[in-house]
């Protein structure tokens, strides 16, 4: 070994620099500590920056910017709250947004809701989630399966308080109990001060709950308004008058040393205001019965509390942030659940499971039985029309109506087992009742000729007409003319046009086709042709 170069540093005694061996163990320790320093720095940097929750995981800047422009920016000037109350409700069965305009143009759904909650948690905000109730709107086996699915989803999202809406309480008690009751040692998130499944003393659900979040104690209870209770005819559910039930719970909550108290009131705004006035301890009061869209700011109650409306169909959430000690101790944000939130994998799985259950049950298992068409006639299928009406059939074949069922099959998860989707994507169903008519579509295996949204959905069942025209059935000229006349639609008179428009609106309704305008849409399906012999 060559000796190291000797250097001379002024002020230091001269001594030869011998080769040095760095202690390997110490070097290893140093490396570990430097690595820990880097990791710790990164974590602290994230906490320090505390990014505002403005998007779901993986959503691009372009999408976020577009929806900020469409529906507004969120949480401006908020900073980091001590805790956030995330309030949802009135889902009305809209487990996901759907419709002809495309999901990206609509708001709502459990998937975006989960991503919204996760975004706040990822930003380091302590979140307590509550729901007003009304998970479903309809009755029957599909509504029961949907309610169970939604209840499972809300548990997965970590909800702390969920109330009951009137439509929920019309479901059979055995379904409600199965969906709502505690599972093992995990307490149920459902609660109500005045609604008792199987009786108030059965204690299936608690009357209130106090949660600790961000160092704050938040008391939560729910009531069903007296005006709404009157319309519920379910002997297995006991409903006490709202105010007297609330009196007892309010007293118990006062003993809970809560920093904030939340009342989920499924009642008209008038009745809710009356309850809030009687019990001013509730500083966050959530009401049903508002408009489709919540207001931008929370109105203040005479007690100083805030009144929260949620809108309909679960299109919005409302976030209430607590900032104790600041000049604005309570801030609120109306949150549109639009495409900026993306889709949550866990909820997609839940939706897929829901669709599989529907498919597995089938129409019979869902309790759907065919009902007689108002005209009494039966269906032939669009191909039967093509024999004579070739131009009209060609126009139909080139329109989106002709692959309506395919669009359900191509969804992920697929929706072709879902009666609420099928009713507008096949021939022979009552669109607004989600049930088949006699002779209507049953399945691709049994009734392939009735797939897609065909001619007879607008013109009426044509089996008899087609049979006469083909010569399969003998008929007089008068009968033949009558069968033809029954199927004619005309736009030449105001009454005729209105009849045609009403047919369209059966499926192109506000829920599924909010952009629909007959005069704009008609040219794409216009199949007017001269009368044929």
């Amino acid at each position: 070994m060559h000796p190291a170069k000797t250097t001379h540093c002024p002020g230091l005694p001269r001594q030869p620099l011998a080769p040095r061996r760095v202690d390997a163990v110490a070097a290893g320790r140093l490396t570990m500590r430097l690595a820990a320093l880097l990791v710790f720095t990164a974590i602290s940097a994230s906490a320090g920056s505390a990014a505002t929750p403005d998007r779901g995981v993986g959503v691009s800047d372009e999408v976020v910017t577009e929806f900020q422009q469409r529906n507004g920016r969120l949480f401006e000037n908020w900073g980091v709250p001590r805790a956030v109350l995330a309030i949802t409700g009135e889902l009305d069965g809209y487990i996901e947004p759907c419709g002809c305009t495309g999901k990206e143009n609509q708001k709502g759904g459990l998937s975006r809701r989960q991503n919204f909650l996760d975004a706040m948690r990822t930003a380091g905000w302590p979140v307590v989630a509550v729901d007003l109730g009304s998970q479903v709107k309809r009755f029957g086996r599909q509504a029961e399966v949907k309610y169970q699915s939604i209840a499972d989803g809300l548990r997965q999202m970590g909800y702390s308080g969920i109330g009951f809406g009137p439509a929920d309480l019309r479901l059979p008690a055995e379904e409600l109990v199965a969906a709502v009751a505690s599972v093992g040692t995990e307490p149920t998130p459902f609660l109500s001060a005045n609604v008792g499944l199987l009786g108030l003393d059965a204690n299936i659900t608690p009357r209130f709950r106090v949660v600790e979040i961000g160092g704050l104690r938040v008391g939560i209870t729910a009531v069903l308004g007296d005006g709404k209770a009157d319309g519920i005819r379910n002997d297995a559910i006991e409903i006490a008058p709202a105010e007297s039930a609330l009196a007892e719970v309010a007293g118990l909550l006062q003993q809970g040393n809560c920093d904030h108290q939340v009342l989920l009131s499924w009642a008209t705004p008038e009745e809710t205001r009356s309850l809030a006035a009687a019990y001013p301890q509730f500083d966050i009061v959530v009401t049903a019965g508002g408009a489709d869209e919540p207001p931008a700011q929370l109105p203040e109650l005479p007690s100083g509390g805030r009144l929260v409306e949620l809108g309909h169909k679960g299109m919005y959430a409302v976030a209430v942030g607590f900032f104790p000690g600041s000049d604005q101790p309570i801030r609120s944000q109306r949150v549109p659940l639009d495409a900026r939130w993306g889709e949550a994998r866990e909820m997609i799985k839940l939706l897929a499971s829901y669709q599989r259950q529907l498919e597995s049950l089938g129409l019979e298992g869902l309790g759907l039985s065919a009902m007689r068409h108002p005209t009494g006639r039966r269906f032939a299928g669009s191909a039967a029309c093509s024999d004579c009406h070739d131009y009209a059939y060609e126009v139909w074949e080139g329109s989106s109506h002709a692959y309506a069922l395919t669009t359900l099959e191509e969804q992920d998860p697929r929706r072709d087992g879902d009666p609420e989707c099928l009713s507008c994507h096949v021939v022979g169903w009552a669109p607004q009742r989600f049930e088949p008519f006699e002779g209507g579509f049953l399945s691709m295996a049994k009734t392939p000729h009735l797939a897609h949204n065909g001619c007879e959905n607008c013109h009426g069942p044509a089996a008899a007409h087609a049979a006469v025209e083909r010569g399969d059935v003998r008929a007089t000229q008068a009968e033949r003319d009558r069968l033809r006349e029954e199927l004619v639609l005309t736009l030449d008179t105001p009454e005729g046009k209105q009849r045609a428009v009403n047919n369209c609106l059966e499926c192109h309704d506000l829920d599924n086709s909010p952009q629909f305008d007959f005069d704009e849409y008609w040219p794409s399906v216009d199949h007017s042709e001269d009368d044929e012999e």
């Binding site: 011998a18 080769p19 110490a26 140093l30 297995a236 408009a291």
Partner: protein, 401 residues
């Protein structure tokens, strides 16, 4: 050769230093982000962002208009005024509306095409919002957004709200009866409100149902004026009563209550859907009850951990007050069943009897998991019910160590 000992900093010092360094970095980032130039909007991008020098300033007196009431299918419009109190041109661009039932347009002074408007300093213009009363009636609130090049207000949302009034409305909108008894009569009510200019006249009221219409009578009586307060703006109302006789067929109920009314000289039919179920007089309810399989599913229970779960037997109908449950037989033998006293629910049309299922530590092992290899267990109860003296509840359970 000299061994150099590297003096390593104390681990806690490392952690504190990292936290301080990272936290300061993060805060600095947040401050920089918060004070960064506001989001560029379409209008801003087109007009050029003005953060220095002359700038436009948008002012408006109000952003919310309450239109009061509009009929379903009716429409209305309102103009909001926008002023430019800045010293640079204010560029306005039409943004999104929250519903196609609401449209915005520029009217008044300023230059531009239909989708945008430029307001000079000191000038003003108006935004006209039109809406249609869609839906089934009730509270209405929709929004139209205008994008601007004012860096302090890159967008303004104008909101119109009020009440959409239908011609008629039912409460509840659907008459639902879950779990009716086949052996006892029942009753359901609904209220029908009309919103014409004058009181409505009832012409006819009937139930349209394929299977059970002969077992149901429908009657309608005018509601007293005080009852109209339940529906804001109602000018008339009718209370509908449906009386179901005993003997309804088990299964699904479906029908329509059709009420013919004359409102403001026009005859119309208000249709209220009826739906429900008719079930047997003894039903089992509980978290472990599998309705589809009609069995209780308890899974595999460790006798070390034990089991404590609850079921309920619900009794309704004519014989409900005679129901007294007594355990006759339980398979597997290790499953214990305790019966609670019967309790009425609400008005007493339903009686609730609790069953507590438990597995004690000394229970013998068993396999009744309802598979091909292991048959179901059961709980057999004597009921005292005149028509169903014995109730057998299948149980799928295994008791293991």
């Amino acid at each position: 050769m000299t061994t150099v000992k590297i003096r390593l900093p104390n681990a806690w010092l490392v952690a504190v230093a990292a936290a301080l360094l990272g936290g300061l970095t993060g805060v600095a980032t947040a401050v920089a982000t918060a004070t960064a130039t506001p989001l560029r909007t379409a209008a801003t991008a087109a007009a050029g962002l003005a953060t220095e020098g002359p700038q436009p300033r948008l002012e408006t007196d109000a952003t919310v208009h309450d239109f009061g009431r509009v009929a379903v299918g009716g429409s209305g419009s309102h103009e909001f005024t926008i002023r430019n109190t800045g010293d640079a041109p204010l560029v306005l661009t039409k943004g999104a509306t929250s519903c196609t039932c609401t449209v915005s347009d520029f009217s008044g002074a300023g230059s531009g095409d239909g989708s945008s408007r430029t307001v000079p300093p000191g000038g003003s213009t108006t935004v006209r919002i039109e809406w249609k009363g869609k839906g089934g009636g009730g509270p209405f609130r929709q929004r139209a957004t205008i994008l601007t090049n004012d860096p302090l207000r890159p967008e303004v949302a104008f909101s119109i709200e009020g009440q959409v009034v239908p011609i008629w409305k039912a409460e509840p909108p659907v008459i639902t009866l879950a779990g009716l008894s086949a052996s006892a009569p029942a009753e359901a009510t609904a209220a029908l409100f009309t919103f014409g200019n004058a009181a409505a006249e009832l012409v006819d009221c009937r139930l349209v149902a394929e299977q059970f219409a002969d077992l149901v009578t429908v009657s309608a009586e005018p509601l007293p004026p005080a009852a109209l307060a339940a529906a804001e703006g109602a000018t008339a109302g009718f209370g509908l009563t449906l009386r179901f006789a005993a003997g309804l067929p088990l299964g699904k109920l479906r029908g329509d209550v059709e009420t013919t009314l004359r409102v403001d000289g026009e005859e119309l039919t208000a249709t209220i859907p009826l739906e429900g179920t008719v079930t047997g007089d003894l039903t089992v309810v509980g978290q472990a009850w599998d309705k589809r399989a009609k069995a209780v599913r308890l899974g595999t229970v460790s006798r070390r951990d034990g089991l404590a779960t609850k079921l309920f037997v619900m009794a309704k109908g004519a014989g409900r007050d005679q129901v007294r449950l007594a355990v006759k037989e339980v398979i597997p033998a290790g499953l214990e069943v305790t019966v609670s006293p019967p309790r009425p629910v609400g008005d007493g049309n339903l009686i609730r009897i609790g069953l507590t299922l438990s597995v004690p530590p000394e229970a013998p092992t068993a396999n009744n998991l309802c598979t091909e290899a292991a048959s179901a267990g059961k709980i057999v109860l004597e009921t005292g019910h005149p028509d169903t003296p014995e109730l057998t509840i299948p149980v799928c359970v295994a008791i293991a160590e």
